[in-house]
């Protein structure tokens, strides 16, 4: 690798750690060598561009993290894409993965909330819940109103999440609910990969696993 490139990489890492400490971007909890490894991966993924587009990111989500739901994949992309430009920058890529791989409970709560809060107004409303959950149930043709089951489910989940009983779920509600029962973290759709895949990915970063798809 050229020295200039290595230097720019070092520069990037320094910047990122500084930013994450200041809180100007999402927290990044990777060590510098891990960041470097992730950067390489990123460069491989986007090829000539320095940005990762939606479809390549979806590939990663599918193959590496087994998140296969179309809608959720989109939402994850939006949660990663903090500047909303439709592309992932290296920084966004690393900070997003930091939540997957090393995220604290608080990080994850924020991230999940962000995934579920479709319009970004800081609340998860009934409608948003309905939207998230409508593909959850196996449709039974015998039922008169196919959506009735989903509506019931929404009520059930709202009962669990809406701590202050205002008919919608705020970040605070969500946090309180998840802290009382960690299972509620992904109560509106699976948006975090499972532990074994994460461990595999960590090994990939540490170079212990062969890079087959990258």
């Amino acid at each position: 690798m050229a020295t200039s490139q290595r230097k720019s990489q070092e520069q990037f890492i320094q910047n990122l750690t500084k930013k994450s400490k200041n809180g100007t971007c999402l927290p990044c909890r990777f060590s510098p060598p891990e960041i470097a490894s992730l950067l390489n991966m990123f460069q491989q993924l986007c090829g000539s561009n320095s940005k990762l587009d939606r479809s390549s990111f979806r590939d990663v989500l599918m193959t590496r993290f087994k998140i296969t739901d179309d809608f959720i994949m989109d939402r994850v992309f939006r949660a990663f894409d903090t500047d909303n430009d439709g592309y992932l920058k290296a920084e966004e890529w690393i900070c997003g993965l930091s939540i997957f791989l090393k995220g604290r409970m608080e990080d994850r709560i924020r991230y999940c909330f962000c995934v579920y809060d479709l319009n970004g107004d800081g609340y998860i409303s009934r409608e948003e819940m309905f939207h998230m959950l409508k593909r959850c149930l196996v449709k039974q043709s015998t039922e008169e109103d196919p959506d009735e089951g989903v509506k019931e489910l929404v009520e059930i989940v709202l009962k669990k999440l809406d701590i202050d009983h205002d008919g919608k779920c705020s970040v605070k509600d969500f946090r309180t609910a998840v802290e009382s029962d960690s299972l509620l973290l992904e109560s509106l759709g699976q948006c975090l990969p499972c532990d074994t895949l994460l461990e595999d990915f960590m090994q990939l970063i540490h170079g212990k696993l062969t890079t087959k798809n990258f």
Binding site: C136, V138, E186, C194
Partner: protein
């Protein structure tokens, strides 16, 4: 090979006009393999492989021409031919001829090509060879010519052939010039060689098949019946002694004239009968066909058709006998049958030993209570009687659990309570017994006499759903809805449903049963089998809660939940492991579940959970956060849950063994060092449960756990203290342990625990520990200093029997030291003790009699005992059915007689007492005999009493016992004989009854005490001349001479006296001779 193929190989009967086929049987497989090997080796040798066959071997092949491409082969139209041609008729040596599309015929003229064909066939070799042999039933004819055809009579073709060759060689020698002739001879030699090789192969094949066939001796109905009836006798529920749980004929009970039980049309297939066998380690019964060819498994009954079997076979294994079939199908069976310790069913009678409070069978004692209660209250009011009636019927039902009884759950509970209250009226103690029983998480009862009681615990799991349907609570419908989402949703819906299910109060039975009744258990258990960690966690959290209910526990076990949870124990997710272990801890409260855990390797995995706390401290990606607990804390939690599960599992004896083998002891020892009470309770609980096994006791001592146990006695948690005390209770059976307890200062906290009058379990454990520790004299001293006696005496009043047994046991041990006897009197314990002699609890009686006996050694105490009529009570206990009580009472009587004033008069005053004690000499129990002999020795001090017991025939009875080898019995027997000599012609009578010669043998014993009493007896007996002669003949003088030199004066004197008597007789004889 011809003979073997014709005789040994199994051909199907000829069908469709074209010769038979080779059957697919093991014998044929083996034959084919041997032939294959032969062709492959011979086909490579240069000469034989080139020998051209007399006629080509032809057969239909499954190969196609493409497999014979390359050098040496050429295509000619549809056929493939070899380049080499036969020298005789110019035919190609190999020909593959197309008969129709995709069907070819191969014809081969040399073994070399044969081998090539087989090589080309690859893994279809056997198929090819099979079709070749099927097409050519006698291949030798084709190979070498008609003259070598297999014939039924003596085959001497080969000799003729040899003669021919030798003749030709001779001829050749005469006309040596002809070269072509010699080539012919050369060829013939090759033919001969090949023929010999083939003959050898034939021989091998025949041998092989004979071996095979001899292993398939045919079965006959009588042999089957014999095997079945033997196994039936060895069958039963007892896992230790019975090789199978159940075995019987399956299907119709009709027996044909020929002894077969199978239906006539099945008999045509050779079936004799069908069996259904249930083995211990498999819940599904095995269905076995007994065929004339052997035993094999069949597919069992066809669903929903009674007595309809699927006669097909799941595998092709056939066994010569039933035992080897079962051995291969059940590991447990083969283990048991190898042990050969099982008893016949007829002989099973359970002898229950009663030694300590622990092995008491609650059930039984309760019943005793109520029975006694009946007799006492006979004159009471009618209402009371009614209640008793109910109790009685209920008790009867308890003895034979039936379906009807099962349905009575609620009612029974009420009855139970009623019984409680009614019993309290007369005997306050038993209420606490009841409470204790229901409260103790670990019933002490199954730790010792497990085989008896284990099956009873929790058998009350009851089905009751139908009657409740009338008004279902609203929770029921809500739960039903949630379970619907569990069933029909994806992961997210499942998680939501799981989370909100937990909002219900799962401790309520209605909710627990509702989950079961709407089919939620199945779903929850199925979820455990999925890959979704979160679903698994959620499901386990619910299962953990609801498994507190015994019906749910059973349902979980029935649905195979334990197997899955055991699997989860190996998961990498710690939270999951914890939950699974905790749920197992809840479910494994009954025997079958514990067995399941063990059989699926759960014990090993649980033990490995204990190890967590140490190893994974520095795992690199510990930052993987699901909850924010630090990693070590989670490890500790895993270990705690593991210990909890092991605690439940350790109630089965085999599990204890399995745990030990899995290396649980050092891990438990490590965890015992923890300071966390939540951790310590399950760990100590497991240890005290396991301490019933000697191997664990040893390990607990040697691994230095006593120190920690003692340390934890000082904890502030009463439950922990209780488990520690009961662990010490069990471990202190051994002297070294007792010393260690003292060394680590454990006696002081034990005595301190005595002040906890409220917690009866703790009290029982602490007093038990004191009892066992007091067996060592050094400990007694320490207890004296701690003034334990006073405290123990106060506990003699108003305590449940669990506590009383141990308190009295402790007092009995402490009273071995004379100052303590006095102390017991001073603190007023004797009246209590004597009062307890009227009890019925046998374990208690054993201890009370011992304690009273020890106290009676002090004359001052004896006065009190006498005044309270304690001796009469002791005497009446000789009538107890329990031999331990009898023996203990008889021992206690000895010091009483010794120390009582006017003992003779007192003994006489017991009507029928002397007759009773003499009749006990007929007992089979060594301890009873020894104690009764000791008592008789004391009774016989009084001449009048001696006269009475002589009248009751004590002399022949004692004489009959003299052949014993038990030193304890010998000692007291000799003592009794010595004392009984002092009346009438008893000495002569002993001689007549043949008691003298065996006594002489006692002198060879290694026990000094035996010598002393024997010498005394011999001295007494030697006063009779006849006895002297017998003694002398038995060689008494030599050992007695040695004993004259003993440091023991008593012995000296008696021995010398005896020799003196013998000598005097000799002198008198001499004098008479010369006079």
């Amino acid at each position: 090979m011809g003979q073997a193929l014709q005789r040994a190989a199994q051909w199907t009967s000829a069908k469709d006009g074209c010769g038979g086929k080779l059957e697919f049987t093991p014998i044929n497989e083996d034959l084919l393999n041997s032939i294959l090997k032969f062709v492959e080796t011979v086909g490579k040798s240069p000469e034989e492989s080139q020998l051209v066959f007399k006629n080509p071997l032809r057969w239909h092949t499954s190969l196609n021409p493409s497999q014979f491409q390359g050098a040496g082969f050429t295509d000619s139209g549809d056929d493939v031919v070899s380049d080499k041609k036969s020298p005789k008729d110019d035919q190609p040596l190999f020909l593959m001829h197309k008969l129709a599309k995709d069907t070819y015929e191969i014809s081969v003229q040399t073994l070399g090509y044969g081998e090539q064909v087989l090589r080309a066939a690859g893994d279809k070799k056997i198929v090819e060879l099979r079709s070749c042999l099927e097409a050519n039933r006698d291949p030798v004819v084709f190979l070498l010519g008609e003259r070598f055809a297999t014939v039924e009579t003596d085959d001497n073709s080969i000799f003729r052939y040899i003669e021919e060759i030798t003749k030709e060689i001779e001829q050749n020698a005469k006309q040596s010039a002809d070269g072509s002739n010699s080539a012919e001879i050369e060829e013939k030699k090759i033919v001969l060689r090949l023929r010999l090789k083939l003959l050898r192969l034939d021989e091998q094949l025949m041998n092989l098949s004979i071996q095979k066939m001899s292993s398939e001796v045919r079965l006959s109905p009588p042999t089957v019946d014999g095997e079945v009836s033997i196994l039936q006798q060895l069958s039963g529920d007892d896992e230790e002694r019975c090789v199978v749980e159940y075995i019987d004929y399956y299907g119709e009970t009709f027996v044909s004239k020929n002894g077969c039980r199978a239906q006539p049309w099945r008999q045509l297939h050779g079936d004799i009968c069908y069996l259904c066998v249930r083995v211990h380690d498999n819940d599904n019964p095995l269905y076995i066909t007994a065929n004339t060819s052997g035993y094999y498994l069949n597919n069992g009954p066809v669903n929903d058709k009674a007595n309809h079997l699927d006669y097909g076979r799941p595998d092709s294994n056939t066994y010569r006998d039933l035992v080897s079939l079962l051995k291969s199908k059940s590991a447990k069976f083969s283990e048991l049958i190898d042990k050969q310790e099982f008893a016949l069913k007829v002989e099973q009678n359970d002898k229950k030993k009663i030694e300590m409070s622990e092995n008491r069978d609650h059930e039984e004692s309760e019943q005793k209570h109520s029975n006694e209660h009946h007799t006492r209250n006979e004159k009471d009011q009618q209402m009371e009687k009614d209640k008793n009636q109910k109790n009685r019927t209920q008790n009867k039902k308890k003895l034979e659990p039936s379906l009807k009884w099962k349905a009575l759950d609620i009612e029974e509970n009420i009855l139970q309570k009623e019984q409680d209250t009614s019993v309290t009226k007369t005997e306050k103690k038993s209420k606490t017994v009841q409470r204790l029983k229901s409260k103790t998480p670990i019933d002490a009862e199954d730790s010792f006499s497990e085989s008896d009681t284990e099956s009873e615990e929790e058998e009350e799991a009851v089905e009751r759903r139908a009657e409740a349907n009338a008004d279902l609570p609203s929770e029921y419908w809500q739960i039903q809805k949630l379970v619907k989402y569990l069933k029909g949703g994806n992961q997210t819906a499942t998680i939501i449903a799981l989370c909100s299910l937990r909002d219900f109060n799962l401790a309520l039975e209605t909710c627990q049963l509702a989950i079961r009744d709407v089919g939620g258990l199945e779903v929850l258990i199925n979820l455990l089998d999925t890959e979704e960690v979160k679903c698994k966690i959620g499901a386990l959290k619910i299962l953990r809660e609801i498994s507190c209910n015994s019906q749910i526990r059973r349902a979980i076990a029935d649905l195979g939940g334990l197997q899955t949870m055991v699997k989860i124990l190996r998961d990498s997710n710690k939270e999951l492991k914890c939950l699974a272990a905790e749920t197992i801890a809840n479910v494994a409260k009954f025997r079958r579940a514990r067995r399941t855990v063990r059989q699926h390797g759960g014990i090993k995995r649980l033990v490995s959970l204990l190890d967590c706390a140490q190893i994974r401290n520095n795992k690199p990606d510990s930052a993987l956060v699901t909850t924010d607990k630090p990693d070590t804390e989670k490890d500790v939690e895993v270990a705690r849950c593991g210990a909890l599960a092991l605690w439940s599992c350790s109630k089965s004896k085999k599990n204890k063994e399995a745990m030990r083998k899995a290396g649980s002891i050092p891990l438990l020892a490590k965890l015992l060092k923890s300071t966390n009470e939540d951790m310590l309770i399950p760990v100590v609980g497991t240890l005290q449960e396991c301490a019933s096994e000697p191997s664990y006791r040893l390990a607990i001592r040697t691994e230095g756990m006593i120190e920690d146990l003692v340390q934890n006695l000082k904890s502030s948690n009463q439950e922990l203290q209780m488990h520690c005390a009961s662990a010490i209770f069990k471990c202190a059976e051994e002297k070294e342990t007792r010393d260690l307890v003292r060394k680590f200062g454990g006696l002081d906290p034990l005595v301190t625990l005595l002040s906890n009058v409220e917690n009866k379990e703790l009290l029982a454990a602490a007093t038990g520990a004191i009892w066992k520790c007091a067996i060592s004299p050094e400990n007694v001293q320490r207890f004296e200093e701690l003034k334990a006696i006073d405290q123990l005496v106060t506990l003699l009043n108003n305590q449940p029997e669990e506590v009383l047994v141990n308190v009295v046991g402790a007092l009995g041990e402490l009273a071995k030291a004379p100052p303590n006897r006095m102390q017991i009197r001073k603190s007023g314990g004797i009246p209590y003790l004597v009062n307890l002699l009227t009890g019925t609890n046998q374990a208690l009686l054993v201890n009370v009699t011992r304690a009273v006996g020890k106290c009676a050694e002090e004359p001052d105490n004896m006065i009190i005992i006498d005044k309270l009529d304690g001796v009469r009570l002791l005497w009446s206990l000789l009538k107890n059915q329990n031999t331990d009580v009898q023996a203990s009472a008889a021992w206690a009587i000895c010091p009483c007689i010794e120390n009582a004033k006017d003992a003779g008069e007192m003994v006489r005053s017991f009507v029928g007492g002397l007759e009773l004690i003499v009749s006990l000499l007929k007992s089979d129990d060594k301890e009873v005999l020894a104690s009764v002999c000791a008592a008789i020795a004391n009774i016989a001090k009084d001449e009048e009493n001696l006269a009475v017991i002589t009248d009751h025939g004590v002399v022949p009875m004692l004489a009959k016992l003299t052949n014993t080898t038990d030193d304890k019995l010998r000692r007291h027997l000799a003592e009794a004989i010595a004392r009984c000599c002092n009346w009438g012609n008893n000495r002569t009578a002993f001689g007549r009854e043949g008691a003298v010669a065996p006594l002489v043998k006692y002198l060879k014993s290694s026990d000094e005490n035996v010598h002393r009493s024997t010498a005394r007896a011999l001295y007494q007996l030697s006063k009779n001349p006849e006895n002297c002669i017998t003694m002398h003949e038995a060689g008494v003088v030599q050992p007695l001479m040695k004993m004259v030199g003993s440091p023991d004066e008593d012995l000296q004197e008696a021995a010398a006296g005896c020799i003196g008597n013998i000598r005097r007789l000799a002198l008198a004889n001499e004098r008479a001779k010369y006079a």
